[in-house]
Point group: C2
Chain length 539, copies 2
């Protein structure tokens, strides 16, 4: 009987084969074409073994799937998060009311730069709420480009790589006057539209000139609720957006509200200034204008508009496919100067995903130190966690390079991650924890970190051979495990070990390892080493 | 009775009011919000007058529409040209068969740079066929960025501002190996996807490594023809495209075939390498894989694939939302080195539209010289066209700046464009052709060109006052029209004229004007002056 669930069509299952012939292990890219698969693909045999589904195919290929690859949960977590389904829709009171459920998403520039968690929080806010504000960004010319580069790539347009928003003598765009501007999205005449906008305030002592943000997804959702037929009209009517000056003639025919094939709101364009002449049958024109006027009125409802004032050093980042931005009129005698640029959501999401995967890795390590590591003694006077933290502290005090501090910190994680645990080692069965640990860590760290760990047990056996005094100072437990691990090396093996490229690093780690068993010394916390690990992560 | 056609709903008509209060004359951007219009907008009175529809609105506003604004023809011409409706779909034989209807769209880099018509032809090919090849592009490092900058903006990605396509020791992408690559689009895991790709060949003496292009719109149209239900499945199934390496984690959920709200194909994504795991009900998975396999097989049909070899100096530009590109395997011992970058279709279309509007203006002028201008003598021994060409040649020979050569060339166009023509001038009615001509040309040229034209009749009256010898050498016809135009200036008016900022330029144009009536001199063609006019166009 086949172990393949009936819910797994053969081509789907085979297309997801994770073997190294089918997928590049470095980036998960597939190495075959869907057309390479045989016409009548089928499963010849399958079985479940050790939490994996093993499949033999009728073309002879073998696949081995972790069972969780056949479930649906991961999908929800890793969608592209671009539709209303993955957003928190809001109105002004969600930030401003007493006991408002949301805080204004903001962070100091220095914290954003220095703390990956803070950086992730800002980017997550842009993804979830559509905006965030960075404070205390240096009010330097072109600084807005550095903000964009911190998570993605600047998208140049006809307005330049960056644009200055201030009163201009002969403006080619309303933005460069002092007039009020109703809530709108930018560049609807571009396709692809710039999906992110940044506005960095360099000066604002004019009277007026406040900023407003409106959640366009929320406004569209309200329209769908109140007038579903109007909503439908706006999703299916192609609106000719246009912009023209001496060197530019842009045109994009796109709906005001774009939905994905599942009907979910995924993009809003709203900018009366650049809507050109629609050419449609009369009944459709009438229906469009009724729907458009209703939607425009919704976007201008005061309760939807979050108003605030950008001060010098503030940099607003917002989703130009979702949020409408507005500005009140201002007095021309004051100085008001913003610099803006465009960027894209995909790179922001990528940067966030990388930060999150790194945070997940570090959280997993932190949990090890706080959980199993803190409970386990393995015959010494300190816990495993204390032991590893002390080893890292010794390495740090010795001025060791970061990768050796990390190796010292993580050298014994194999005790918790092999099939054979540290406890079993203490009962006389070698758990080969140096290999297990190095292999487990290789998901996250490069060989500079993992190889000294792989060799740190061999280094003990080596040192016992070449330095009789070394063996004399081993702890009782270490002397016991030495025997389980094979005892001192022969002279030939020791000579061969010394020739290995990582031998010196492994010996260094070994010496910190041996000294890191002092119940009376102050032990730094795992968090102390977290930034160092963060920099070494290679995932 | 109202002159407003029943096919013009009030809000549509008012939204398209072309008056200067409603629209910024510089860029056509609207200056009001749709919500600024009254709740019960209606036409109080309307009338047709001189080819315009004059409307009085119930809120007191007045609009005046050129009647052609109420027709539908312009729309088809100026759509955004992004769907199959505005493309020429092709297969390989369309370029390669005997008497093939299409030629490979190609141009020498020097011609592309030097000749606006050639540049427009290349960009139009990318828009219409999906690709073009530039030849003899200098094989310099980073030159591909200059090609992109010639029509738009580079889109940076995780592969950099540009990427080198050659064998790499530890590639993070199949492109950087020597393996064959089946037809695919790039970066489907980006949203917005880069809509254009450029590939510039610096070296290719490897065996193999040929390039192939497939029209993905054509393949999709074939699928719709042969298996409409499969086509529908691919337009509605969200495919999770993904890419991941150390610093990147991109994800986009988009259909393989994207259609616009009218059902027209507007984007194709095809890249088996980066399709992640779909999570859907079994029946949908089965239907998707059947449709996907059929579509993939279509894109790999030999008759669809146009194959060619990029040699050093060739730069291929292609539409990454439509064309699939492929490469045969190659021997690693040869040298093969391409540099690529991404850019976007919207800026390419804008550059093309500006080139086209400039070409249209120059074509209109050229037609004037070839048509009415060549037929009209107005009392001289040369035609109007010869007269103006001679004036320009005199200006050019005198080393005049470009704007004065242009003014000399165009000084009499007012004879053809006023309500009162040059013929009527010769019958004794001043046609004020200097004003008419300057106003007509102001659509296209700045004041440096138009103002000497505006003053060139006044300059004649001025010179007759201050230089008795000048009047003596006037032609008979010119002496006749002097009277119709008001005769010599009074001394006061002449003094005032001399103070005008453009007086010296107008006098210079006037002198060339007076000398440009020689039936025996060789006259350059209008095309001789076309590049000069091109540079002066301000539209």
């Amino acid at each position: 009987m086949s172990a393949v669930p009936a819910s797994s069509p053969p081509y789907w299952l085979r297309d997801n084969c994770p073997c190294a012939d089918c997928r590049d292990p470095r980036n998960g890219q597939k190495l075959f074409q869907i057309t390479d698969l045989p016409e009548e693909l089928s499963v010849s045999a399958s079985t479940e073994l050790n939490g994996r589904l093993e499949v033999l195919w009728n073309d002879g290929h073998r696949s081995s799937y972790p069972l969780d690859l056949l479930t649906t949960e991961e999908h929800a977590r890793t969608g592209d998060r671009r539709t209303e389904a993955d957003k928190r829709l809001w109105q002004a009171a969600d930030f401003t009311a007493d006991q408002a459920p949301e805080q204004l998403p903001e962070a100091r520039w220095a914290d954003y730069l220095g703390d990956p968690a803070e950086r992730a929080a800002v980017l997550r806010a842009v993804q979830r709420l559509g905006f965030a504000v960075l404070r205390e960004v240096p009010t330097a010319d072109r600084q807005v480009l550095a903000v964009a580069a911190s998570f993605g790539y600047v998208r140049a347009t006809n307005y330049g790589e960056l644009f200055d928003v201030r009163v201009e003598p002969d403006p080619n765009n309303l933005a460069f006057t002092s007039a009020a501007i109703a809530p709108h999205t930018d560049n609807p005449y571009r396709d692809p539209v710039p999906t992110l906008q940044l506005l960095h305030c360099l000066a604002n002592d004019a009277v007026g000139g406040d900023s407003g943000l409106v959640d366009g997804f929320r406004a569209a959702a309200l329209l769908r609720e109140q007038a579903p037929e109007d909503f439908a009209v706006l999703t299916r009517t192609l609106v000719p957006f246009a912009f023209r000056d001496r060197d530019t003639e842009l045109r994009a025919d796109r709906p005001l509200i774009e939905v994905d094939p599942l009907g979910r709101i995924r993009e809003v364009r709203m900018n009366n200034r650049s809507i050109g002449r629609l050419v449609l049958p009369t009944a459709e024109l009438t229906a469009f204008y009724a729907a458009y006027r209703r939607f425009a009125a919704l976007t201008q409802r005061p309760e939807l508009q979050l108003s605030f004032r950008l001060g010098p050093g503030d940099c607003l980042i917002f989703d130009n496919t979702r949020l409408l931005h507005a500005r009140t009129a201002f007095e021309q005698d004051g100085r008001r100067h913003l610099q803006g640029c465009y960027a894209d959501l995909d790179s922001l999401a990528s940067t966030l995903a990388v930060l999150e995967r790194r945070a997940t890795a570090l959280d997993e390590l932190a949990a090890l130190f706080a959980g199993e590591g803190a409970a386990e003694y393995l015959g010494e006077a300190v816990t495993q966690a204390e032991h590893m933290l002390q080893a890292a502290a010794l390495a740090e005090r010795a001025g060791a390079p970061d990768h050796l501090v990390a190796a010292a910190l993580l050298h014994d994680v194999g005790h918790f991650h092999g099939v054979v645990t540290g406890r079993q080692l203490m009962l006389g069965e070698d758990n080969r924890h140096s290999d297990t640990g190095a292999d487990w860590l290789a998901r996250w760290f490069g060989p500079a970190v993992t190889e000294p760990i792989r060799l740190h047990v061999a280094a003990k056996r080596y040192l016992c051979t070449v330095e009789p005094a070394y063996r004399a100072q081993l702890s009782e437990a270490s002397e016991y495990t030495l025997k389980v691990q094979g005892g001192p090396m022969t002279a030939e093996r020791a000579a061969a070990f010394a020739e290995l490229p990582g031998a010196a690093d492994a010996v260094a780690v070994r010496r910190w390892d041996d000294q890191a068993k002092d119940p009376d010394t102050a032990t730094p916390s795992f968090d102390h080493f977290r930034p160092l690990l963060e920099c070494l992560l290679a995932l």
